[in-house]
Symmetry: C2
Subunit: 331 residues, 2 copies
């Protein structure tokens, strides 16, 4: 089997640290790894697969080394500047920032949902927003069978989604210290405010969920609305998803459709208090779906409770799975 | 002005303690207060309005003392047994349990919404579920103008809603101790499970929200669905409410309708990070409404973020406001 060269950009951030762990677990046919970061963290020594690496500053000539794949998790500005450079040198970039997600030339990919789009990449593949990734997997499973008419999202998002600053705020505001990342203490509070506010009163996170859901499901006119909320949970996002379908459904069929779909674990046994939980989903790569029940307020409605590790499946794992599938397709 | 005798049943629980505080603040024309509890807490000495009282065990002859009003916050079983006894002796009971809420002979009352129903009481008036009270106030304001078609609730409910056991779990699971009230640690978690599960997969809390919303709004066929979730917040429930109306609306008109409705404080200025928060709503008697924005996924849709102190407006304050209005009407 062919061996590849992979670069991880943003190797010292929360997602970068998790990506290193997931790369070790996946053990892809990669002969050479390289780790990049900003000048600030350059020189950091890391241990990866039993070997010591030095994380180097990302520079314009970094991709002259001839990488096959690069995973970017270093923020929008770094992606905007360096992804096209990497792509121009024949490296396929899986970009975790929001920089290219809505670019019509860039596929926005969740492997379980639309891997076909990734194979048509022009050098850059966008990794969707964490809260969108976990939602579209069960939605795709159900859209194929019952055709979705409308989706109402309400999210319960973990602080790790805001990076190390979010995690620090969680710890510090517990001790009564002032918040630095969020505008208010996240401890003992729910903040209906993720990313910046737009002119129409929505947050950018809400607009991302709406637009990215449409693009990934290839349903550009799908009716979607969202309220995204930060909750005092360290890791794993939870989501209350209300779905209306065009077609009638049998609830048992919904269960088996979800159970048989790749990447989903159904946890739904109310009599035994079995339902998805943030603390249980953390450190797993799957999306957990439960509280599956008919919504009687519309003809063909369904309520779901969907939980996933936002740093794994919502970021690092999804990007690495894309690379994995590209490699499989190349062999 | 006439003076009244009032009994507080369940005076030592979380709601009872808050009811004593709210009664002091409201300073109603009451000449005589009495405080009752179970045999377990009987004998507890409390200070109320500068005077020491002994909390007495509630007995079948307790209402022989001739009370005008009683507020019950001692659980469903106590209410079922003692409310009819109190009512039979001419005392008007405001019952905070779920025992009588759906009884067609018992008005279910939020003073800002349907006080008229309270005036037709037959001795017992039910205080609605906490999560319903805060939702129906803005919904009533809007239903009057635009006629609601459908409501989708997703709640973010504080541990105080589960009483002292919930608060203890919050504190103890933070320290790594085992939960006692909830099936899983509430610290660092969101539990999509409030009250018991029903046969249809819904929790009793969800069914309460659906049925009580219909009864209070006098819209028995209103389309409502709910997902109710416990979050690691000590006090004040937050709610993501998605509403679809029959009539078109102007968003400015929605703002002014809510601003002018009694009991509502609109907090909505995204550019200044102004939106309702659990920590800000606590210790207030009003319902805070924000994140008011058009939902473009239906013809006439609206998203709201609604927060209130579940022990005050969701329980103690609402009950005391009912008594206050009954007294005003009697004079």
């Amino acid at each position: 089997m062919k061996k590849y060269k992979l670069a991880l950009v943003g190797a010292t951030g929360l997602v970068g640290i998790k990506a290193r762990q997931v790369l070790e677990e996946f053990n892809l046919p990669i002969s050479e790894y390289a780790f990049f970061c900003s000048s600030k963290s350059a020189g950091t020594k890391i241990n990866f697969m039993g070997k010591e690496y030095i994380v180097r500053e990302l520079k314009e000539d970094s991709f002259d080394e001839g990488f096959d794949y690069a995973i970017f998790s270093a923020g929008g500005e770094t992606s905007k500047k360096f992804s096209p450079i990497a792509a121009s040198k024949g490296c396929i970039v899986v970009d975790n920032s929001s920089a290219f997600r809505m670019d019509p030339d860039v596929p926005l990919v969740v492997p379980e949902v639309n891997m076909k789009a990734a194979f048509k990449n022009k050098g850059i593949i966008a990794n969707p927003n964490c809260s969108t990734i976990q939602a579209v997997i069960p939605l795709k499973a159900l859209d194929e069978k019952y055709h979705i008419k409308r989706v109402v999202y309400s999210t319960y998002q973990a602080v790790s989604g805001a990076g190390k600053g979010g995690v620090d705020d969680f710890t510090n505001t517990q001790k009564g210290l002032e918040p630095k990342k969020f505008p208010y203490p996240i401890f003992n509070n729910c903040l209906p405010h993720i990313d910046v506010f737009m002119e129409n009163g929505y947050t950018k996170e809400e607009i991302k969920m709406i637009n990215e859901t449409r693009k990934i499901l290839e349903r550009p006119d799908l009716k979607v609305t969202a309220t995204t909320v930060r909750v005092p949970v360290l890791n794993s996002h939870s989501e209350s998803i209300n779905v209306e379908f065009e077609n009638k459904f049998d609830l048992k069929d919904v269960f088996s459709t979800l159970q048989n779909y790749p990447g989903i674990i159904v946890e739904d046994n109310p009599s035994e208090n079995i339902y998805p939980l943030a603390t249980h989903a953390s450190e797993h790569n799957e999306v957990f779906v439960g509280r599956i029940r008919r919504d009687e307020s519309v003809d063909s409605g369904l309520n779901l409770w969907v939980v996933a590790d936002n740093i794994r499946k919502g970021a690092a794992t999804n990007a690495i799975q894309i690379v994995q599938k590209l490699i499989e397709n190349d062999n």
